[in-house]
């Protein structure tokens, strides 16, 4: 795969050319929140940013989506017809999350046509992080601020230039289509890139103990720690909705007089209705069981089912939790490595 240079004065031209061919999504400041939105001009792209408020999952698995419509007793199939898209400016943690979502929605047995169609038609251009936030802990779960996982192209911000590295054939194809806009990277550029990688890794301030986490959790279903951890949890859905890997959904009919649509909506294991049965029986009655499920799902069950921890360490749940229930502290508690002299509750 190739390594090229995009000078920053050509960044706008770069985006303009992409916009001509693709639907381009990029971080945009929208009503005070930095979100991935479709851009029609390069100027819409946010100038400097760490990461978006919402993860990119909504571009593949939107909050609400019609699976099909029905009218007069007939099912009207929706064909997931998406345009070719580019997502520009994703962070490596979020790019990795896409590979985790692939494991859920694209299985040997069943294929989710909506998610897969969008994935296939999307080229992901990520930008390596030079300045991780204090809530970033991607390295604790095998990620890195400069990881290539999940990206088709990875950019390194070298100051005046971007080093553009193609990761996949899809990314290479996009780079090839840009012709003379990019120039070949020189040795000095690669050296700068290596320095950037070094500083980025050194900048990672947050590291949590994750060794043997799954094995510990296997024996902790009835552990008294769950009695403590959930106490301050409000049971809202912020942590799950802002999580790039949380993918639980609900399927409901939206209809009047049996005309309408079957819709898939985001759902959260933190909600009481998540597991309630028609008979009224609910196996996860309180926040205790729900929070345990969330932790177990991320750090234990997912490892059994997919061989992967479903946490990429983006820190969104930490920054946005209304009661500062920090997932890193929970992991520390599970690992028995919580700071001395501090009760968790």
């Amino acid at each position: 795969m190739t390594e090229k240079i995009l000078t920053k004065d050509k960044q706008k031209e770069f985006l303009s050319r992409l916009i001509k061919v693709y639907q381009v999504f990029a971080p945009v400041e929208k009503e005070g929140n930095l979100l991935f939105s479709q851009i029609n001009t390069p100027e819409e792209l946010a100038e400097e940013y760490r990461n978006t408020k919402l993860p990119p999952k909504e571009l593949f698995f939107p909050h609400s989506e019609a699976l099909f419509r029905f009218r007069k007793g007939q099912v009207i199939e929706e064909s997931p017809n998406e345009a070719e898209r580019v997502i520009f400016g994703m962070r490596p943690c979020d790019a990795k999350s896409l590979t985790l979502l692939d494991m859920v929605f694209n299985t040997e047995g069943f294929k989710d046509p909506y998610f897969i169609a969008r994935r296939e038609k999307t080229t992901v251009i990520s930008i390596a992080c030079a300045q991780p936030q204090i809530t970033c802990f991607c390295t604790s779960f095998g990620g890195s601020p400069v990881s290539e996982e999940g990206s088709d192209i990875l950019l390194f911000d070298l100051g005046e230039n971007y080093l553009v590295k193609s990761i996949t054939p899809k990314g290479q194809q996009l780079i090839d289509s840009l012709g003379g806009l990019l120039t070949d990277a020189q040795k000095s550029d690669l050296k700068k890139r290596d320095e950037l990688i070094k500083t980025a890794l050194a900048e990672m301030k947050s590291e949590i103990p994750t060794e043997g986490l799954k094995e510990k959790l296997e024996g902790m279903f009835d552990s008294p720690i769950w009695e403590k951890i959930h106490l301050k949890c409000l049971g809202c859905g912020i942590c799950t909705y802002l999580c790039p890997t949380c993918h639980c959904f609900d399927i409901v009919d939206e209809a009047v007089d049996s005309e309408g649509k079957r819709v898939r909506n985001w759902d959260s294991c933190m909600y009481p209705q998540f597991t309630i049965q028609a008979s009224g029986l609910n196996p996860r009655l309180s926040n205790k069981e729900r929070l345990r499920q969330r932790m177990m799902h991320k750090f234990n069950y997912s490892v059994s089912n997919y061989g992967q921890t479903f946490c990429v360490g983006c820190g969104r749940c930490i920054r946005n939790c209304p009661v500062n229930l920090d997932i890193r502290e929970i992991v520390k508690l599970i690992s028995g490595k919580q700071e001395a002299g501090r009760s968790f509750q």
Binding site: G73, E77, F110, K111, P113, A255, T275
Partner: protein, 281 residues
């Protein structure tokens, strides 16, 4: 790519009231598309997502047997808080509903074939057990199974479901059928008592036998205790679990018990598997 969320339309050809309280009905369906009818091949113990367009969908065990040609059956209990069960109960013969599936693992035929089979069912959980019993009793299959004993338990005679089927079974000599109700009732000539003590009375031999138990949680618990006492091995006691489900295909993330998804890895589990799973059901 086939769309797993797409329901296939089926016509309700018959509705049978199953109990006195009239909150249990069996819906007999025929797919509108005959090709779909052929594609829908299932094993006993699997379930399907049944939907009333406009009300939503919910998972129900398939009550008919794979040997039943040309129709599918689901037995549904109506709950006042259940949107889909209420909508289904409001349906009439001739109405169109949606079906997608089949899903889940079903009963392990490899284990059951060549064994004596003890089936214990309580209340309306008898649905997939009816499927299994009819499958075993079918002339094409009967020879592949050993002795068949079926115990059906209900609260009272009015709650005993599938009476018309039980009657047919009782007339055969290749099945031992025992019916029981919780308390004495006028005109009741069969057994009286909870499933577990009656099971103990029956005293089925555990030799080369497999037991299948479905019913309310407390019934499963007590019956499994009796079976273990009788020498049934934990991996030769089967049950079928219920959890809230949405997708049925292991994606929506809610029906898991530990790392097992009831929709994908179940709903049929051995008692041994259950012991290894967290008690969250």
């Amino acid at each position: 790519m086939t769309n797993p969320y797409q329901p296939h339309l089926a016509k309700i050809t018959r509705i049978i009231d199953e109990n006195k309280a009239r909150d249990l009905k069996t819906f007999e369906l025929a797919f509108c598309d005959s090709q779909q009818a052929e594609r829908f091949s299932f094993v006993c113990g699997q379930f399907a997502q049944v939907s009333v367009l406009g009300a939503g969908e919910a998972p129900f065990g398939i009550a008919s047997s794979p040997t039943d040609q040309g129709f599918l059956q689901f037995t549904v209990k109506r709950y006042p808080t259940g949107t889909v069960t209420t909508a289904l109960h409001n349906c009439q013969e001739g109405d169109l509903i949606g079906v997608r599936g089949p899903y889940g693992n079903g009963y392990p035929m490899q284990l059951l074939e060549g064994s004596n089979v003890m089936i214990v069912g309580g209340g309306f959980a008898f649905t997939t057990l009816k499927s299994l019993t009819n499958y075993i009793l079918h002339p094409d299959n009967r020879g592949r199974f050993g002795e068949l004993t079926v115990l059906s338990a209900a609260r009272d005679p009015g709650e005993m479901i599938y009476k018309y089927v039980l009657k047919k079974w009782s007339e055969r000599d290749d099945i031992r059928l025992i019916l029981t109700i919780d308390k004495e009732a006028e005109g009741w000539k069969e057994k009286v008592g909870f499933a577990a003590p009656v099971l103990k009375q029956i005293d089925p031999s555990s030799k080369n036998a497999v037991a299948v138990v479905c019913g309310p949680a407390i019934m499963i618990k007590t019956c499994v205790a009796v079976l273990l006492e009788l020498g049934f091995a934990a991996d030769r006691i089967l049950t079928s679990l219920e959890m809230r489900m949405k997708c049925g295909i292991g994606m929506c993330g809610r029906c898991n018990i530990g790392d097992k998804y009831v929709c994908r890895d179940g709903p049929v589990f051995t008692y041994q598997q259950l012991q290894e799973m967290p008690k969250e059901y």
